[in-house]
Symmetry: C2
């Protein structure tokens, strides 16, 4: 055998690929804005480099989605302004810093998400009504749709254009992704989202975890049902949310089992956690800052691209806490600088987070626990102090903490001492570095980089017009059939019938015996007389 | 970004690997004999080429396991001869050609498997009693064990040596592999082994599929329980079959969803179907035979490496059937040549099956439906005529047939006309070639060759002393907890208690109301008097 050659793709394909002659495709991309866009953009850049034509459809008003030389950008007008958009997001993120009872905070979060959802739905409605753009899409002969299903507009377009789709996502709340992929998730060891449970639960945690499925059935309706209405109107047929979700050929999930708890997967779920960890060169100014930090090194601090400002009182508390460590802290912050900013803290409007984390002088990472940041922390083996704000960040923080690779602080209750203590602990207590190093080693030891894997599966769906061989037959069963309830009912009925007939037969036999005995007894008695 | 570099393993590792300097490990291999060995051998060759020291432990008497320059072979004496071994296997395979009622055939199969199991258990017992060899293994400081868990001797050694293990397998009967990996398999769409159902079942097939789990609970005991006894004696502790199976870090499953029906997988189950499809060069004599076949091309015919002879009557029927097609048939057969052998049929003692199937002149493949052969048929896009004999071969044949890529014949009932008709159909009806080509295209379009994937995961387990991050917490739950039956019982009790108290309260209120009314009524009555 010549394994070097044999165990690789056919030589002809390899040659074509190297020459850039492998069949190039045309991909329609309907992204979600915000941090979701950032890792998807990396994938689009790779796809463009492989010779594919990438067309991104996005509203004219966005937070992060901007035109690029790497793809064709098709923008459509929406009835809100950049100011409206920023205001809604700022209001939403601001509530993370507000004290209040659970109910108050829940209601605020609900209204915040509802307002942001409204913007998404409004944007989608304007896209679907934009006849010129829709005609262009219909005439463009795409091979597939790549979309983030946290907004269902891409799924509606895929259905309208009869195109296979690839979903690129972190997850969908309320277990909608599990339902849509028909992926089992036993409540006994698969913790539900937003519970902050690990995979090892106490009895009462398991009770709560199971009960968590009940509100899930309708809790996300307010965020997803409007798309069902839009789709039904646009496609002129009844379309449920699950109809839109289930059509995906492949689900590229930004998760990895060094962070997630091991659980079943379906064959068309491809974990690509760490897809965002590709390195660029560190800009000179940052290299200089890091080198100037001396033997103590640096701490990287960012609450994510979506949080621009935090309340001044909180900012001052944080500044005080950061002042108590000998490390230089690079803090990405666009708000007003707190007046007590210590000398060792440098405020920057933007920082190359992943490349800074990769620097050997980086000692710790203070993060809000967004999945991108957490995976960058893992890729670069930097222990974390987590200050989760909303969404899946509490769960991410819990996962890092349960692995002994970081410490979580409650952003509302933490004091400056808590911050400095946590920071000192993750920097000075060796176990945090050892644990994150172990996770990092496991995470990076993979047969193929997650970005290459994502490219492969998008190309696969483009080449084969889907991935029907990965679609489980469970999609063709209703809920009763899937859970074999009809079979169980049938078997129970047969068993009961059998028992009933057996009982009746026994009764009959006993009766006959008794009667016979009775008669014989009587006869004997009569005879004896 | 510089994706070419960034999206690849760290440059240093790559360099070390290219220079052959990456940390080499020491692997203990405990293989299963027969066709199982053939694909595992390919993996061992690759591991040796990557610089690892491979030690294979096998009995002195084997069918296919032979020493090689690529690994150290440690053989141990067993109390049976080569003749005994061959006789038992021949007797077992011979029964496939014998007519009889279902019960007769079942009993024969049971006794056949029991006799073969006895040989395996006897061999394992002699290995464990071989103090010198065990001492050598204890002192050898292996990094991991690679074994085929269809025989549990490797698993016992892994437990004794406290080594992480990788299982390399097609599957284990009676769903033992699903239980051991805690992999869900809803009976509504995951057909059980030996049922020949597809993933789309009728109601009564679903009933049968669900009921199939009941005999499975104890049906395989006779083949696996003896290992539990051996392990308990050797390890001086109670060891159940599932204790041995569950310790595996990674399960390399020789399956792929172009053949298997899509179903849930656990993170430590790595599908490597097609691992045996690496090509070598076709030997000159076979190249000459193929070229001499003219425009009609050839048919490759083999009933597998384990079947050496078939009854003469059956052989003559087959020969007659093969004579009716214009193709040259290369028939791998070691038995006595049938006297009616047609001119177009060439009997050979051995044939390079995969490389012949890869030849563009190959029109069809007649196979017993063993998983190796079926995957070779898929890799090379050759339509198949399947003559399943035993084990998973009936299921494999059904899978190929349900994909429209081949036709199945009943080896007991088929006539020479059936054979020639089936052969003509798969060769001349274009749909068979189109379907197998589609399966082949999907199967070969993968980000990494299954052999490289298998090598990666063996090395991963060697490097990290296991893969604990892929072990689901389900292993730490008992059956009641896993299915949340305790939680459901608790919730039901709470609900009933709540209803009971509510009912009692209502009753109490009603009573009081009635009493009051009664008293008021009486008082009114009394007053009115």
């Amino acid at each position: 055998m010549a394994p070097g050659l044999s165990a690789s793709p056919p030589a002809v394909l390899l040659l074509l690929s190297l020459l850039g002659l492998a069949a190039a495709g045309k991909l329609l991309v309907v992204p979600a804005d915000g941090s979701h866009w950032l890792s998807m953009r990396e994938l689009l850049n790779m796809l463009q480099q492989k010779g594919h034509e990438v067309v991104v459809v996005a509203p004219e008003v966005t937070l992060h989605i901007k035109p690029s030389k790497n793809f064709v950008m098709k923008m459509y007008p929406v009835p809100y302004t950049q100011e409206d958009l920023k205001k809604q997001f700022q209001a939403f993120f601001h509530f993370s810093f507000e004290q209040g009872s659970f109910l108050e905070r829940f209601v605020k979060a609900y209204h915040g998400i509802k307002r942001i959802t409204y913007l998404g739905v409004s944007s989608c409605g304007h896209l679907l009504q934009n006849k010129e753009l829709i005609r262009y899409l219909e005439e463009s002969k795409f091979d597939a749709v790549l979309t983030d299903p946290v907004l269902l507009c891409g799924a509606i377009l895929a259905k309208h254009l009869s195109l296979p789709s690839v979903y690129f996502l972190r997850g969908i709340p309320c277990g909608l992704d599990f339902d849509a992929t028909q992926c089992p998730r036993p409540p006994s060891y698969v913790p539900r989202g937003f519970t902050q449970f690990t995979d090892h639960m106490t009895f009462f945690q398991r009770v709560k975890n199971l009960l968590h499925d009940i509100p899930d059935i309708f809790l996300c309706d307010f965020a997803f049902e409007p798309y069902s209405k839009l789709a039904s109107e646009f496609l002129q047929q009844d379309v449920a949310v699950q109809d839109l979700l289930r059509q995906a050929s492949v689900w590229l999930m930004r998760s990895d089992f060094v962070l997630e708890y091991p659980r079943p997967l379906m064959p068309n779920i491809i974990p690509i956690g760490g897809v965002n960890c590709a390195h660029k060169e560190l800009p000179q100014e940052f290299e200089a800052m890091v080198n100037a930090s001396g033997e103590h090194g640096i701490v990287v601090f960012s609450l994510g691209s979506m949080v621009s400002e935090i309340p001044m009182k909180k900012a001052m508390e944080i500044a005080e806490g950061l002042g108590a460590v000998p490390q230089t802290v690079l803090w990405r912050y666009t708000g007003k600088a707190p007046p007590n900013l210590p000398k060792n803290v440098k405020l920057v409007k933007w920082l190359p987070q992943n490349d800074l984390l990769a620097h050997p002088k980086t000692r710790a990472f203070i993060t809000h626990g967004g999945s991108h940041g957490v995976y960058e922390g893992i890729c670069n083996a930097v222990p974390m102090v987590l200050m989760p704000l909303f969404g899946d960040q509490m769960d991410n923080a819990k996962r890092v903490e349960s692995r002994g690779a970081g410490l979580t602080l409650n952003i509302l209750e933490m004091t400056s001492t808590d911050i400095s203590n946590a920071l000192k602990a993750v920097i000075n207590d060796k176990k945090y570095k050892e644990n994150i190093q172990r996770l990092s080693d496991l995470h990076l030891d993979r047969p193929i980089h997650p970005l290459d894997l994502a490219v492969h599966w998008v190309e696969f769906v483009m080449r084969h017009k889907g991935a029907p061989h990965l679609r489980p037959a469970a999609h063709d069963l209703n809920w009763v059939q899937y859970h074999s309830l009809d079979v169980i009912a049938f078997l129970a009925a047969v068993t009961l019938l059998f028992l009933f007939i057996s009982f009746k037969c026994c009764l009959c036999c006993c009766c006959r015996c008794c009667c016979k005995k009775g008669r014989t007894g009587k006869a004997t008695k009569a005879k004896s007389h």
